[in-house]
């Protein structure tokens, strides 16, 4: 009986093991934040590059 209970409890928590391991510390949000910063800077860079080329195109027409 005791074993059975223990097994059900283990079976109940196992699927979430990786999930909770991944999130318990909450540090993944730091990675998400850093990726967001890098991606926004690359995007801003691309937008500015695009604008510069558009300016050159209109100037040389």
């Amino acid at each position: 009986m005791k074993n059975f209970l223990l097994n059900t409890v283990i079976a109940d928590i196992t699927p979430q093991v990786t999930e909770s391991l991944f999130r318990t510390s909450g540090k993944i949000y730091v990675v998400v934040g850093i990726l967001t910063i890098i991606f926004s800077l690359i995007t801003i860079y691309l937008i500015r590059l695009d604008a510069k080329i558009t300016k050159l195109e209109t100037a040389s027409k």
């Binding site: 990786t18 999930e19 993944i28 990675v31 998400v32 990726l35 991606f39 691309l46 590059l49």
Partner: protein, 229 residues
């Protein structure tokens, strides 16, 4: 004009990629993904590189055919910009794949049909780059590169897509008898990031190719002005 007259595709690319980068890291995974564990999130970053590369190289292939048909130098410039961007995407896919493979299979390179196909295919595209860099005569170069591109694209697809699918054994997911995306996606929520990721990454690299093509056309125009001045 090489400039794509729609602004919305750039906005769409930024939105979809932002969503992919953030939600791709936070999405709850199916409980059983085998040895891949958390690294299955690479599905949103490594796999779209290859899908996007195939799409971009196909557009480049169409532009190469167009160039041979009507000899419009702009088409050749667009084809070149797209091909180089496609190669860049392929390299991103290759290096991310090697890193992922090193951490999952224990070796950055296995003698897998998919990986060997990519190795041969990338060498063929290195040949394209060589033609672009080594022939001096502009028109001859354009024609040579276009013909070469028309030849290698179908071969490349056969090597990286068709042959691995036909192979008896492959360790790489999605080829041969091995597992594929659907095997692991038991909760059916990974599509919510996977398909936007493919569209987002592809549009983002199309944007880069567009900037490159516009720069090359401007350069060409400057050189022509110098010639006739």
């Amino acid at each position: 004009m090489a400039k794509i007259p729609y602004k919305w595709y750039k906005i769409l690319a930024i939105l979809l990629l932002g969503y992919t980068l953030i939600y791709g890291l936070l999405i709850p995974l199916p409980a059983d993904v085998g040895m891949l564990d958390e690294t299955i999130r690479n599905l949103f970053y490594h796999v779209p590189m290859w899908f996007g590369m195939m799409i971009i190289l196909m557009i480049a292939w169409i532009y190469s055919i167009l160039y041979l048909q009507n000899q419009n130098p702009k088409h050749e410039i667009i084809a070149r910009a797209l091909t180089f961007t496609g190669i860049l995407m392929g390299l991103c896919g290759l290096f991310t794949g090697m890193f992922w493979g090193y951490n999952t299979w224990g070796s950055p390179w296995t003698n897998d049909p998919k990986l060997n196909g990519v190795a041969v295919g990338m060498t063929m595209y290195a040949g394209y780059w060589l033609i672009q860099k080594s022939v001096d005569d502009g028109e001859k170069k354009a024609r040579l590169a276009s013909v070469y591109n028309i030849f290698i694209f179908p071969l490349f697809i056969a090597l990286i897509f068709v042959m691995p699918k036909l192979a008896k054994f492959s360790i790489h997911p999605g080829s041969g008898e091995s597992v594929n995306f659907k095997t692991y996606n038991k909760t059916y929520n990974m599509e919510m990031v996977f398909y936007p990721a493919i569209i987002g990454w592809t549009l983002f690299f199309v944007w880069i190719a567009e900037i490159r093509a516009r720069y090359e056309i401007l350069k060409q125009r400057k050189e022509n002005e110098k010639l006739f001045a």
